[in-house]
Symmetry: C2
Subunit: 575 residues, 2 copies
């Protein structure tokens, strides 16, 4: 295990400490969630000095294990009021791991208004004035920081949204080209960073040793099996590399679970116009990149670079959920408008799911017309202007709905539902309702067995089997997030019995341990129990583990409804 | 008992029904809270069709009992998410009682955008198009409705805030001059009325009989004792009639419990400029009215009419909490600016406490400068313009704080704390924390024994005795609200052992009952238990029964802190 690096954002001081015994064997989400439970008063104001913002690389991060470069960020969420873990690709996780930092903990908050940046390298930690980075968007921030510190540093930064402490604010990471295409998107953690007046974190691992592997031979052998497994699965080896995650547009639309016009139906008549196939065609015509990893060592490469019609760079990391949120949910059908909205989110530092859903709510409330991409772009631009409209939309779906008096707001724990309707994809619906994170598909991606026939087949429109599906996936996902692995490795491990044992072999070889697959399950459960415990102390009850009443409406084309009882749902995460 | 009048706001239909056996003996807050518990799903969206807006006159309302003309309004609150009862003076309650209406229940909600008005008289109930009343402020609405229906009708209406479904929206009642100086202020019930697209309710009792008094002689005798008691008490007989509720400015400031600059200290250096004495002086100079009742039969007459420096009408019903909220809390020291802010609240239909606190939060967040009355007037005016800034401020303190990233927000259950600091007036602090209503001084006015030496003396800066004080007052207040009595009768009944028996005598004479004072206590407790039960079903826990962390700060001049534990507070309403 490495060390904890604590930075006091008020005093501009830092200190290293040994990882306590109690945290041995924890990394990524396991460590952020445990530390938040232990150190953050559950009833504190998320933007107050008592909240902490914690970054932790996964247990495998920094090693050569394929797709192990995710970084967990955790805090009490300004959006949900509960615990939050949000992870992202980018460079930072592997560099922190190589620097021997098990967790970077931002504490306290300054009284003055000036922003700072934190620069971490192998010899020093500095808290420096942000200077002219203040009020800048992430594109400019990252460009300037690469200019100053070189292209080999990782950058985590906030845009204007985080500076304003908006609940939709993300923290963005420089991608492999120094653009803010990767994001700790969900839960408004950018607002926590903003409240602590940290504009950016620069991580430079120059001179740092490689991470130690206790049994290099065993590790190498396991990682080879691992890479083969990821590359040979049809989803992670073919679908995602070819079309990106937007391959799902046609699949989910066909399944009738593609929420359209604020969750009124499951099919969008213009789905073709915003599909992964269409996107890949445009990227190729215009000279973009269809296949790119979000961090070194990725073998799936679901990311991309999208150019505008003049062949100029427009956005990158353009994903299915983003396209859904700004597309079918709002009925905007112009992919270029959606790409511009994605770019604005990356630049201002905003969660694309929360913003897309909020734009739909703004349409529901009559603020802008349904399907009007230009009006949506104008509205979202107000966040960058620090204008009142931006403070409304940038605070997310519930806030926008409350500003406009809208009563159909698709959220759980105040976080917007993503791109799969819970009535016709009930496995993920159970996850939305019960995960401690607020509505989040990544917390237990039931789309696998519901729609993709991965890891078996469970009817997406019926209740049977979907509680168990969500439970198993939530436990597995928590462990995956602790390992620092990309969620998309799940396709392979669900279909290959050797998947989990291979991960266990890599962990054992990395640390010289003798873990079994059962230990991984136990780790996943303990993470969820810690998160539930924090939320309970923050005032959450089982009443918060359900969908809002709008999902009692019958949902075409399959005419499904949300029919789980509170009692049934409350069984999901009882271990 | 009278009848229930249900109006379906979607179908524009109505029906009368007998009051069910289970509701026998309930009126005012007792009836609204019981019906909401029974009929409104606790987890519904407050602006959705499942919420109901219920008006109920008190048990003594319509009788000649002095100060018995209050009207309770209840619903699930858009502001707190819990149950809400908010009562007001005005004409409506007595007229509804004479029409034999125990409760008026607004149900469902229309799909179209057009507003309606409800006109209730002795022969008919009509739901009519609001026409040119739509988008109008309460002053204009009331003037037009008096022009159309005559000066003998009661009017309850919403302004632009309620139309926009803002969480700070009040429902205003025409005062004795047809001006919207009386308000169901707290909890955003105007937004519920707005969600149901009801712009105004007109109540005409022409031709209705007097309410039946079973034993007129006994009633008359008890009421005489009652009037004497109210008139002979120094607070209700002298202080309030002379200076209005603003008599408290100097008293509470002197006690060091006058929250200044967003609860940073307990004394405001410009308290004299906004005191009741100063106000009375200006009113007399300018030709206003210092002493006016809020409903026929009031013998306390704490209300007033305030003219501007040119001697023209500016506002009425100008109260202590309003003056505090727009004054000391924001450090605005110009009484005329504060009066203008009060007028804007009455016109747009906004709770003055919530708005004053929100304006202070806007100052805390840098949106406008501290102490700048003109900037506050400009900002509040945006509500009337339907502008984005208005949607922020009009949604109250939490919303404004969230828009601006402010972490010092003085609320309980998302409702703003009123004009008495909980650290140096702990009796009312316990009420703020524990009442099911969200922070509300009227729910258990511990200022009595803490500062006014009414009903004994309990040290406002120490814990001892203040839990019991709050409990006793909360129980008594719930019963007072059920009777339809003005809260200010409490001064007399706390200091006169014959107070409660006199009320009991009036109830018995009115209905031919044999109640005892113990029955009144039992009624108060049952009301609170119903309200707590609704909140529990809505997801509230004991964690919601506390003050936010900002009250851990030491509070000058007495250097007090908020030092009750959750365990201590949880005892307050355990019966």
């Amino acid at each position: 295990m490495g060390k904890l690096l604590r930075v006091n954002t008020k005093e501009k001081t830092f200190g290293f400490e040994e990882v306590p015994e109690a945290y041995a064997g924890l990394g990524g989400r396991a460590l952020t969630s445990k530390m938040i439970l232990d150190e953050v008063p559950a009833t504190c104001h998320p933007l107050g000095k008592a909240n902490k913002l914690i970054f932790s690389p996964g247990l495998l991060t920094g090693s050569p294990a394929a797709n192990s470069g995710r970084l967990s960020a955790g805090a009490k969420s300004p959006l949900t009021g509960g615990i939050k873990e949000s992870n992202s690709g980018g460079y930072a996780s592997q560099k922190l791991a190589r620097l021997g930092i098990a967790a970077l903990v931002l504490e306290d908050k300054p009284e003055e208004d000036e922003f700072s940046i934190i620069v971490i390298n192998n010899d020093s930690v500095e808290v420096l004035p942000a200077g002219d980075l203040t009020n800048a968007g992430n594109y400019e921030v990252m460009e300037k920081l690469w200019q100053k510190y070189g292209k080999n540093v990782a950058v985590i930064s906030i845009g204007q949204a985080g500076e304003q402490c908006l609940k939709g604010a993300s923290m963005n990471q420089a991608d492999l080209n120094g653009r803010p295409g990767r994001a700790h998107g969900r839960g408004g953690l950018g607002a926590v960073m903003g409240s602590k007046k940290i504009k950016a974190i620069v991580v430079d691992d120059k001179g740092a040793p490689r991470v130690e592997i206790k049994d290099p031979e065993a590790f190498k052998a396991a990682n080879k099996r691992w890479v083969d497994m990821l590359k040979s699965h049809p989803v992670s080896g073919q679908g995602l590399p070819s079309y990106g995650t937007a391959v799902l547009v046609n699949l989910v639309n066909e399944a009738g679970a593609f929420p359209t016009k604020n969750f009124r139906s499951g099919r969008f008549e213009h789905a073709q116009d915003i599909s992964g196939e269409k996107m890949a065609e445009l990227i190729e015509q215009r000279g973009g990149v269809t296949t790119e990893g979000c961090h070194p060592g990725c073998v799936i490469k679901c990311s991309n670079v999208y150019h505008d019609k003049d062949g100029k760079y427009l956005t990158s990391g353009f994903e299915y959920e983003t396209i859904w949120a700004f597309g079918a949910h709002t009925t905007i059908k112009e992919l270029d408008d959606i790409a511009m909205l994605d770019r604005l989110c990356d630049d201002f530092g905003l969660d694309t799911i929360e913003m897309g859903v909020a734009i739909g709510i703004a349409m529901e409330g009559g603020m802008i017309p349904w399907g009007d991409g230009k009006a949506a772009i104008d509205l979202l631009s107000k966040v960058g202007d620090f204008a009142p409209e931006g403070k409304i939309i940038g605070n997310g779906s519930v806030f926008t709905g409350e500003a406009l008096g809208v009563d159909r707001i698709p959220v759980v724990k105040k976080q917007a539902l993503p791109a799969y309707d819970p009535r016709s994809c009930k496995g993920v619906g159970v996850t939305y309702a019960t995960t401690p994170m607020g509505a989040d598909h990544t917390a237990g991606y039931g789309v696998t067995a519901n729609i993709l026939s991965v890891g078996g087949t469970i009817d997406p429109c019926k209740k049977e089997g979907n509680i168990e599906l969500s439970q198993n996936l939530q436990v597995a996902t928590a462990a995956i997030d602790a390992a620092g692995l990309c969620l998309f490795i799940a396709f392979a491990i669900l279909d290959d019995e050797d998947g989990v044992p291979t991960i266990v072999d890599m962990l054992n070889a990395r640390y010289g341990l003798t873990l079994t697959p059962n230990d991984i399950v136990a780790l996943g459960k303990s993470i969820l129990n810690n998160e539930k415990e924090f939320n309970r102390k923050a005032g959450f009850t089982e009443i918060d583990d359900q969908l809002p009443e709008m999902f009692n409406e019958t949902f075409p084309p399959h005419n499904t409804t949300w029919d789980f009882t509170l009692e049934e749902l409350s069984e999901t995460l009882k271990f």
